[in-house]
């Protein structure tokens, strides 16, 4: 399981996991895209970004927000995500493949990422995170 959606009265809540932090971040990005659009997105174009955060939660917040920015400001929808975390875990580089959003019918508009009920933690061998999206 890469990610799963949980019950939330007003918004969308998901948990994502991975064998490493890099994989967990990648899966969290995929969960975000899945919450907007159900079908498969083609990998036709590339976008790269580098972001920072003062802890793992803010790094995750800033990372996910980048997808909302790419979608609204550049009309870009991600399909494949590759993350490389820095050693001090305060920044990461991401390589994203995806397509023009106008080629898809998006069903859910995400207003913002929130810190509500957010966590990033190690569980056995896996890293797990939880995120609530404001919609």
């Amino acid at each position: 399981m890469k990610f799963k959606f949980l019950e939330h009265t007003a918004d969308i809540k998901f948990q994502a996991q991975g064998v490493s932090l890099d994989k967990m971040f990648e899966n969290a990005g995929l969960a975000l895209i899945k919450s907007m659009f159900e079908e498969k997105v083609k990998a036709k174009k590339k976008e790269n970004f580098k972001i920072q955060g003062q802890d793992l939660e803010s790094l995750l917040y800033n990372f996910l927000e980048e997808f909302l920015f790419l979608f609204e400001a550049k009309g870009f929808l991600a399909s494949k995500i590759k993350v490389k975390m820095s050693k001090d875990k305060k920044s990461l580089e991401a390589e994203i493949q995806g397509d023009d959003a106008k080629n898809y019918k998006i069903h859910t508009h995400i207003k913002a990422i929130t810190y509500n009920e957010m966590f990033v933690k190690q569980q056995g061998k896996n890293w797990v995170c939880q995120v609530v999206l404001d919609i």
């Binding site: 959606f5 019950e7 939330h8 009265t9 007003a10 918004d11 969308i12 907007m36 003062q54 939660e57 803010s58 917040y61 800033n62 927000e65 909302l68 920015f69 979608f71 609204e72 400001a73 009309g75 959003a101 106008k102 019918k105 998006i106 069903h107 859910t108 508009h109 207003k111 913002a112 990422i113 929130t114 810190y115 509500n116 957010m118 609530v132 404001d134 919609i135």
Partner: protein
Amino acid sequence: MEIKKISENIYEIPKKAGMNVPGRVYASEKLLEAMKQDNTLDQVANVAHLPGIIKVSIGLADAHSGYGFSIGGVAAFDMDTGIISPGGVGYDINCSVRLLRTNLKKQDILKKQKEIVKALYKKIPSGVGRGSPFKLSKEELKKVLEGGAKYMVERGYGNKEDYLHMEEEGCLSGADSSKVSERAKSRGIGQLGTLGAGNHFLEVQYVDEIYDEKTAKAFELEKDQATIMIHCGSRGLGHQVASDYIRLMENEYGFKNLPDRELINAPIKSKLGKDYYAAMAAAVNFSFANKQLITHWIREEINHLFPKAKLEVVYDVCHNIAKFEEHIIEGKKKQVCVHRKGATRSFGAGRKEVPIAYRKVGQPVIIPGSMGTASYVLVGTKKAEELTFGSTVHGAGRVKSRSAALRTLRGEDVKKELNAKGIEVEAGGWKSLAEEAPQAYKDIDEVVKVVDELGISKKVARLKPLVVIKG
């Protein structure tokens, strides 16, 4: 959570360690029970921890769980010792409602119901990722951010009477576009004149019942008159302003001693506090301008179908906002910073902020129902100024999660049900119809009954939808 009944519809969360003031909830027993199902009451208590909070942390009858502050939450802060918090405003800054009155009747709308729904759905961009045909230069965006609806009227999209009938006359002062990041601007520049998605909507309605003839007359509303309601906000620009300042405030102040990370804040008079206010005000103005352009397009379409139609703004109320207002604190008039998150200002007669046309009766309070159910027009009161820093509820509030709604309801059936009630509907997709189905929301009638009984706003008229456009 310990909660004490003070009197009918008034409950108190007693002051505990860390809280500067008690919490206060204005709700019926039934609505309070719903609040106990999520963490609404904890959130009301958490807000009471913030520095400089005055009197009480308030949860209104429609309160439900939000982030940091509950939705349906109100808190006022001392200008010298208090704070301003992006979490107390919300991500959708100035998510708000505008009501237009027309010289058309219910019967006129019924004759052309299908044409109206088609024309409005085609003209007003709605749904996810649907941008605006209205192109803005960077220089024009700056003017939108600092001039709001007023600037749009100067550009020819409406008339002076429009903005005179809006909260803050359609332009919150103190806005500074240079405090809005380039990132936020690039999210907003292509979205002026768009409705967005989620709970945002556009409805053509009729006045189904009048509760207070005198006030309805002042608002120029009468039975069977057609009205139009627009519910939307500051779009991606406002969302990004919220995220940007949450980040900046975390970097500056940290969040370790807060009960909830989303309660991040800055002192009102700090540089960051002032910068956030200036950026928030810019997003507020973007929302006013957004609705002004939508109003202009609605006029074009309705006039095309009804050449003699006249559409006027009744009022435009803000739901997610922080403002500097004068209130009576311990017997003295004092300026305070009122946060309304999912709450509506409800000023009574006489206040200078109320448009001259309504000053003798109080401001119109517009409460949208959920899709397909009744909406209400109420009037602001002195009682609200005494109890809730001049605030009342903003809507029904969700009770059923979106995924639960999707499991139990089909968009096709929701549409059929609405059609059976005589309502024409167009939506971005079946999914959004099911997610926003009336069954997923609290009973608006109960919410309105409670605020009317409490007297923090009084019922004037009920509106029922005939045409619904969903994002």
